[in-house]
């Protein structure tokens, strides 16, 4: 038993290198580990932060960071608010056409995002919303998956709570916001976090809808920058680190919410 435990720690522990090394290399190259040397450097012989400075001193950089926050915060706030309302209705309210409407949510949830970005892009072009904040934000406010998660969360709350509130004379809005919402707080935090990192990391929708440099979010800016200075790997790596840092910090702070959240996405009834 003891020997098999050690074997497990050894083999699985070694396999973790597969996840640590790529992140490590990105960090090492960003502080000037020479990846073109033979053999390539694992530790920078001449550490420098020139790669980061290439970003910090660029005129657009502050704007990209600001844009990333504007997009992520507004998309997260908006889509979560909308999803809470809709998810609550599907979980607790009775109305005609509920099944059909919910099927629409499910189909929306399963629709490959990248496929629908193409007609969406044309739609935005017709609405003259290409290369605007609205064009970037508005479509991403619709997140059927969040509606689904919120509905699931409310479904898990026993009926007793609201019945007690009804007896106490609470209004339907009081029941929803003051009784039910606090009860699903952990799931709400997960939905908030997921929405935030999804919108932060989204580089494909900006690839379609944004062409103006000053509207880019960090990932798309970093990606397009890498096409311009391909040879300076240090800059490329620094960009990669800068794009990853906010989600990683959030992840480390809220580790449990992320890990539980993944299980939620697969939760079945």
């Amino acid at each position: 038993m003891k020997r098999s435990r050690i074997l497990i720690y050894g083999v699985l522990g070694a396999s973790l290198l597969l996840w640590i090394v790529p992140f490590y290399i990105l960090g090492a190259v960003s502080v000037n580990a020479d990846m073109l040397a033979r053999p390539p450097e694992w530790f920078p012989s001449q550490p420098s932060i020139v790669g980061y400075e290439a970003y910090f001193y660029r005129s657009g950089f502050g704007r990209w960071v600001l844009n990333s926050f504007i997009y992520s915060i507004s998309i997260t706030a908006g889509s979560v608010a909308i999803s809470v309302l809709a998810g609550y209705a599907f979980s607790r309210l009775q109305f005609r056409g509920k099944t059909v409407l919910f099927w629409l949510v499910l189909i929306g949830m399963m629709m490959p995002a990248i496929v629908y970005y193409i007609p969406l892009f044309i739609t935005m072009a017709r609405l003259q919303l290409v290369d605007t904040y609205a064009g970037m934000i508005l479509p991403l406010l619709v997140n059927p998956f969040s509606v689904f998660l919120v509905k699931q969360a409310f479904d898990g709350v026993p009926r007793d709570f609201e019945e007690a509130a009804v007896v106490d004379g609470a209004s339907p809005y009081q029941i929803m916001f003051s009784v039910m919402l606090p009860l699903v707080r952990p799931v709400m935090i997960t939905v908030l976090l997921f929405n935030f990192i999804w919108s932060w990391n989204n580089w494909i929708w900006p690839l379609f809808v944004l062409s103006n440099n000053s509207l880019f979010n960090l990932p798309i800016a970093v990606w397009l920058q890498s096409n311009t200075f391909t040879i300076i790997f240090q800059n490329v790596a620094a960009g990669g680190v800068l794009a990853a840092i906010v989600p990683l910090i959030l992840y480390i702070i809220a580790l449990d919410y992320f890990m539980k959240g993944v299980v939620l996405t697969g939760l079945k009834g």
Binding site: I107, V115, L141, W223, F233, L250, G266
Partner: protein, 299 residues
């Protein structure tokens, strides 16, 4: 009583559903319907001609479409075969290590990390690995073990690029999948495994005979989700092998990749939409089947 509550509910239902469905209609349903319509048109810059199903006929004789289709299926196959990895690891972590073993938590959190980070950053990291560190590692091994051949950047090799992209894809979803399966492990009875051990069953037999059947619903869920995500694989192809479809031309391109190329580079929006319809039909067919199975328990 019931009537009355339904009536007082009406304004609440409206308040709850209106914001979502207005936006949903504007930015989901209309574009999707528009995409379907566009697939019947020749849409380009300043061009809008109805051509019926001509796009789909062209698609059927488009060499690049079939190459990309085959590549997409290859990605799906790698993902399916690779799916045994997470099952195995989740099994070991959950069944051999105790509930409060810190190693489990570390393992889950480290392997989930790629899932929270931008694909752009992951793409850079893997490009560095493939272009320098992995070939150097191979050379180092060659100094010890006489292995033949030169090992350059596998992303530049027409034969190796697709498997490498598929492996990175597998790598990204690994942590996500083992966490999904972790929940399913609760349905495996440790006593049953002990009993099988006593009867002299080998590990492999326990794995296929007890663990996989016990968590079949979760494995099926992982498999269908894996299919849905992999059938629309795009990010790692674009980010790892660039915008020309891979080394030697179209060696790594998937259906969605070709679709984006048609739209963004050649402005053939009608043709791209037709491709989108094909991809969506595959994905929706699989996911609707899955949701039919789940939906019974949902409402």
């Amino acid at each position: 009583m019931k009537r009355k509550s339904r009536h007082s509910n009406f304004s609440l239902v409206l308040v709850c559903l209106l914001p979502f469905y207005v936006l949903f209609a504007a930015f989901y349903l209309v574009p999707i319907a528009y995409g379907i319509v566009m697939s019947l048109y020749n849409v380009g810059i300043e061009l809008d001609v109805f051509i019926g199903v001509q796009n789909f006929i062209d698609l059927a004789s488009d060499r690049l479409f079939w190459i990309s289709f085959r590549n997409t299926l290859l990605y799906v196959v790698v993902m399916a075969v690779g799916g045994f990895g997470p099952i195995l690891v989740a099994g070991i972590l959950e069944l051999h290590l105790s509930e409060n073993d810190r190693f489990r938590r570390i393992y889950y959190s480290v392997t989930l990390a790629p899932w929270v980070v931008s694909w752009v950053s992951l793409g850079f990291a893997w490009r560095f690995l493939f272009s320098s560190y992995i070939p150097a590692g191979y050379e180092a091994i060659q100094n010890v073990v006489p292995l033949s051949g030169e090992f350059g950047n596998p992303l530049n090799s027409p034969d190796l690029a697709l498997p490498m992209v598929a492996l990175v894809w597998l790598w990204t979803w690994f942590g996500f999948n083992i966490l999904l399966l972790k929940a399913g492990m609760k349905s495996v009875d440790p006593a049953l495994i002990e009993a099988a051990r006593v009867d002299g069953a080998r590990n492999l037999r326990i794995f296929f005979g007890i663990i996989i059947p016990a968590m079949l619903p979760y494995v099926v869920f992982m498999a269908t989700m894996g299919f849905i995500w992999t059938f629309q694989i795009f990010d790692p192809i674009w980010l790892l092998t660039g915008e020309s479809g891979g080394p030697g031309g179209w060696t790594t391109s998937s259906l969605t990749y070709l679709m984006v190329k048609e739209a963004k580079s050649y402005f053939r929006f009608g043709y791209a939409s037709a491709m989108g319809v094909v991809v969506s039909l595959f994905v929706l067919a699989v996911s609707l089947t899955q949701f039919r199975l789940m939906y019974k328990r949902l409402v």
